[in-house]
Amino acid sequence: MSELATAVFAAHTEAHLVDAPRSTRFATFRKTFDEPGYVRDLHARGYRWIARGDHAFPHRLAAIHDPPPGLFVRGDADLALLERVSVAVVGARACSAYGASVARTLGRELAAAGVVVVSGLARGVDAQSHRGALETGTTVAVLGCGIDRDYPRSHAALAAEIARGGLIVSEYPPGVEPAPWRFPARNRIVGGLTLATVVVEARERSGALITADLALDEGREVLAVPGEITSQLSRGSNHLLRLGAVPVTCANDVLRVLGVEPAPPAPPRVLEPRLERVHALVADAPKTADEVALGIGERVAGIAAALVELELLGLVEQADGLYRAAPNVGSRS
């Protein structure tokens, strides 16, 4: 039962440790380490600790070649959540509006089908997939710092929301500050916890690719969302496709790989003809309100109103003045 001591010692010495080291320094540390007291404090703060040897430790994560000594857990959900069918949705922090929209939709539709969406709480794709999943189900965030750190700061509210129905986990004890070298280590947990990893948008050297590599090493599935071949932001994800990753064109592509029954397709929505025409124009290619107005041959005032109605129906999304059709991928298949 030295896992907790190992995890805390690793944090103290800023080392990456999987097993208890055979050093006199660790031996000394262990002698003075008050394990029951530490666990009491942890519980008092509402956190949990699962050691690698524990029965509750997620089996998939235990199966990777360098599993963490254990996991610190924040959140209300049962630990069995970590055993459920899960998928990692990861990608660039500086994602495009397209990437953000796809990540959100995938998160939403995968969670709706009962799949647990796992990601890293980072900006961009990570946050969007969490947000999407929160709309319809549960999600798990894996941090590269202490579970009490809420990094990045601007995602504190998102973290709190995740913790309400889902879990936030980390191999680092509370109080550990984020450091660049901890993130690749975090990514192995994201990949290790899940059955498959979906890369939404990734540059040539992206942390998401590390997750994908690790997932591949552990024999998990890797999927990627195709992107524009001219965009730097799709270099990494398109590269994965060339190597044989499963292309994702809709949430059902992911569900099929996981062997999960897709949710029954939503009944086709009947739009009034004018909204239908506006939607068709936007679905063709992203457009500004002015371009849509030009295409329909109407004043922009009414077109802006129509676009808002479509937005409220969840059929159109807007970013930086460009309207695009929401990737309503589940119902297409």
Partner: protein, 488 residues
Amino acid sequence: MLARTVTHALVGIEPRRIEVEAHIERGLKAFTIVGLPDKACQEAKERVRSGISSAELGWPAAGRITINLAPAQLRKEGSGFDLPIALALLAASAQLPRDALDGHAAFGELALDGRLRPVPGALVAAEGARRAGLRRLLCAAESGPEVALAGVEPVGVAHLAEAVSYLRGERGPPDLPPPSDDFETLADVPDLADVRGQERARRALEIAAAGRHNLLMAGPPGTGKTMLARRLPGILPLLADEPSLEVTRIHSVAGLLAPGSGLVRVPPFRAPHHAASVAGLIGGGHVGIRPGEVSLAHHGVLFLDELPEFQRPALEGLRQPLEDGFVQVARVTGRVTFPARFQLVAAMNLCPCGARGHGAAECSCTPERVQRYREKLSRALLDRFDLLLAVPRPRAVELAGAPAEPSTPVRERVLAARRRLREQPLERTRAADELLTRAVDRLPLSGRGRARVGRVAETIAALAAAASVEPEHVAEALSFRPPSELVE
């Protein structure tokens, strides 16, 4: 011998009566000005001495000259005291008839050859004269029209000698050219017809004009944000008498009025550079408290290009005037209030490198950099903007399109909408209310955002001459909400 003239000093944009007393007594030759004169005022000595001799008038031969500016505790700034000092001195040395200065105020700077130069603030000095019950104001000929606006008869003179001959009764007050009606006519304001494409941005501008909404435009460089903003005054109503006088007064103090100009009728447009200091933007300064850009934009448009590049304290300083319509500048020497009821139009890029939303260029900013850029604008400030508009790059088709609608018809619609909004508030229909509630649930929209959308929807309904606020008006208003990235 003792003589006295009256003039008015500026405290902010308020006149304060100053008595200029000149005393000549026998003694060693000396010339002193007392009563807290600043440097420019202290230097009046040299200008007055030279001016009097150039006007072939007599400098008091032997004596000790003391000029007192009362009340003594008020700091006297600027060169407007030259003329009253010279006239008091001439009266004290019996070169002017005893009662000649009764009922007169004086205001102006002297050149070394005795000519009179206009000084900023003549309008305010004239208002002071009127309140003090003085009928006439001696001033530089160029200041005449400004003085006339205050309802005081200007005695505009080109030279000190002319002033003296008038006061001696050798001639009547000189004729003045009639003031041109408007300082700047609408013809000088750029026209909306120059803006090709950008129908949506033009629409936002029209709504902003009709409802006096503050407008924030976000988009890559070169999409015409500045061009659009400059055209806003052209679709606003001309200023009525009272606001016009207020604006003219501020511009007079700031020295922005062209010589011979009348009232400022076109809403002013001010576009300070983003390097502007807090004092420059809000008002203040060490020597003499001067109105800032927010006050120069009173009853007009304050345009802040590159909004996030402004200093944070300057931006936060905008909140008080946006809320109250005035600014209070406090200094050790006193507190000054300037009116500052302006419409705020701001422009920004979507990211520091400017490539976001460009379409053809790829943004190289890290998420942290974009975040920092946007965090410079506090929530409190963003909340002041009713209309937020993403201005994407127009495509070639739009630019090649038909010439756009000119300002005049837009202005007429704005005027009509404002009339309707004044007459009676428009209520939301039930369906419109339901749409708004649905939107608050579904879109990133705060409670304050809801109120904002309601206001804009009312303006849109007024522009459409509708009897009540319908769902389509609310829907269009919703399209001007902050882009989600700005609120996240």
